[in-house]
């Protein structure tokens, strides 16, 4: 190889890659608005992003998979936890995670900061990013829950969940609201016994939570709901 060819490799390689990269950058900017639902990116959401940066949340938590790997990814935190559950964790992490082996600092966020963070996490959860991360894929939860409900349509526990209005706060399949955690997600983390006990007195296990108590249900009924919720958890490798 002569020095002339070597220089040719340098300029040819650099400029062709640069040209492609810049052209795609321009095109990507044209598509960001639709892919990230930029129309919903209002001042509260932006304020939430500023709060997120002010308290350096990102050096413990990943978001979109980037950042510190010390704590749960927050891309779909809104999808799996819901607004009220996020509020409690932000307001009193020392209480919310008192039994955990890993702690989150209490940074004394103001109520306004917490509201903007909730709005921010809600907006982030809507970004169309090829359904990453897989463990938080709503599409996957919905499919597996549809299958389960179709098989157990008349299950007494499923009926109780309907009757007692759990879905006015919790998401399940493609129904429900987003105040509390998605029920499929709860099942992946908790045992049936724990859930049964929790339903009897949520304040004892989760002080300050917005979850109402279900003392009027019998222990057996509560245990049954617990078993139902655990059965909802997405199982290994299920698509």
């Amino acid at each position: 190889m002569t020095e002339r060819t070597a220089k040719g490799v340098f300029w040819g390689g650099t400029l062709s890659s640069l040209a492609l990269f810049l052209a795609l950058t321009v095109d990507t900017h044209g598509q960001f608005a639709a892919l990230t639902r930029a129309d919903k990116l209002d001042d509260t959401v932006v304020a939430g992003k500023r709060v997120f940066e002010r308290y350096n949340c990102n050096d413990c938590h990943t978001i979109l998979g980037f950042g510190g790997y010390y704590a749960p990814d927050l891309t779909r935190a809104y999808t799996r936890l819901g607004a009220d559950a996020i509020r409690r964790r932000l307001a009193q992490p020392e209480v919310a995670f008192r039994d955990s082996y890993r702690k989150m600092p209490n940074q004394h966020l103001s109520p306004a900061e917490i509201e903007s963070l909730v709005a921010y996490l809600e907006w982030v959860a809507g970004i169309d990013n090829h359904d990453w991360p897989p463990q938080d894929s709503e599409a996957r939860w919905k499919r597996s829950t549809e299958r389960l409900l179709a098989a157990a349509a008349l299950s007494p526990a499923a009926a109780l969940v309907q009757q007692e209005g759990c879905l006015s706060c919790h998401a399940l399949g493609d129904r429900g609201e987003r105040q509390g955690p998605r029920l499929e997600r709860v099942g992946a983390r908790r045992s049936a016994a724990w859930i049964g006990e929790y339903l009897g007195d949520p304040q004892r296990l989760a002080p300050g939570s917005e979850m109402p108590g279900y003392q009027h249900l019998s222990a057996a009924q509560r245990q049954m709901i617990g078993e139902f919720i655990v059965a909802l958890a997405a199982r290994g490798g299920e698509r």
Binding site: Q31, D59, T62, L64, R102, N129, H130, W132
Partner: protein, 462 residues
Amino acid sequence: MTYRTQRVAYPYMVVALLLFGLQVVLGLWLATQYFVTVPQGLVDIFPFSTARAMHTNLLVLWLLLGFMGATYYLVPEETESELAFPRLAIVQLVLLTATGVAALVGFLFGWTQGRPLLEIPRPLDLLVVVGALLFLFNTAVTMIRAKRWTAVQASLLGGLVFLAVLYLFGIPFYRNLAVDWYYWWWVIHLWVEGAFELVAAAMTAFMLIKLTGVQRAVVEKWLYVELGLFLFTGIAGTGHHYYWLGAPSYWLWVGGIFSALEPFPILLMVVDTWRDVRQRKGPMEPRLTWVYLVGGVVIHFIGAGLFGMAHTLPQINYYTHGSQVTVSHGHLAFYGAYVLLNLTFFYLAMPHLKGLPLGRYDERSGHFAFWCTALGVMGMSLAFAVAGVLQSYLERYLAQPYMVAQVPIRFWMAIAAAHGVMVLVGVVMTIRHLLTLRAPAGGGEAAAVAGAAVTLPSAAGK
């Protein structure tokens, strides 16, 4: 050392080494927090996030100071002239070090930009820019005045200008998180897989010319090819970070294909080094410097080339993204590519800067320190890799919640930390060795006679 003003490089290297030590201490504390439950009271005042910001910023700061010191050592020899403004170089060092220390102390009190690796608050960013401009000005004026251009100089200056320009993309506040990460990677990826590689290739070429005595024309010809391939694969290869951030799906193709080619230029660097070492014109003396040179090139290939390749394809990255797999690669790549590059250069330059005859030094404890650090970093990266694969499987594939999947991972983080202790021991010994270099035990005289006989080391001494 032939030029008086090369001496400004020495304080740069000393500061860089001290910051390196502090970086490793903080790293060990980070790993510990993964397997020990830190009480809430301590988490509230010194959280993981703050320690991580310090750990990563220290890395970037000391590597950059090392590159700058190396540049101030290299440019006079390449241009065959004195540095244009040696005092300004010292002012610049004081400015950048003070800015860095202010940033680190600021983190402790919650003063931060709050974006990973770019935590330095915006007002301090301006000081960083001033420091960078002083540096580029000093280097460029020296080169222009000397009117002697070499490919080594050109790629070094090109890499440094590229690096400075990219830093600017990390400064603004971005309203949209996806756009934010899009440009975040212009700093992070285009630094480590673009600008830094140019600097590394230039510094390696310079050291090869000095150490092996192989003809400059040969080394520089291959330098062009390396640089061309680095930039061809590396620029469009940025796309391997755009898979899951809300960008269009063509990035899966572009990022996957271009980044899969990124190991080739690194491999070429290994081959070039190997060829030059075999065609060297003298003995491999001092041996430790050669160990660092070859070790660096090889671990650069393993950490960046192989460990990078392992998770760069979108089909794999879908599972490994945001897990300890990234941590494993990040550590081995940074260590192999840029930590060892800096240390090799320090071992080449510091003996001359200290005026040791023919650049010979007493190597004894240095060898142990090298192997202790290198094996420690390798072991640590392997432990992170196991933790990462486990995490990908449990969390991404079996869909376990994060905190459930972390339980078995805590064990592997303890293994990583145990290797981290080895790294700390090795690094402290390396720093001590470099800061207290002495003439070889046999006396500088004997070495000088041996060196004069083969004439090469006097070339190395330039």
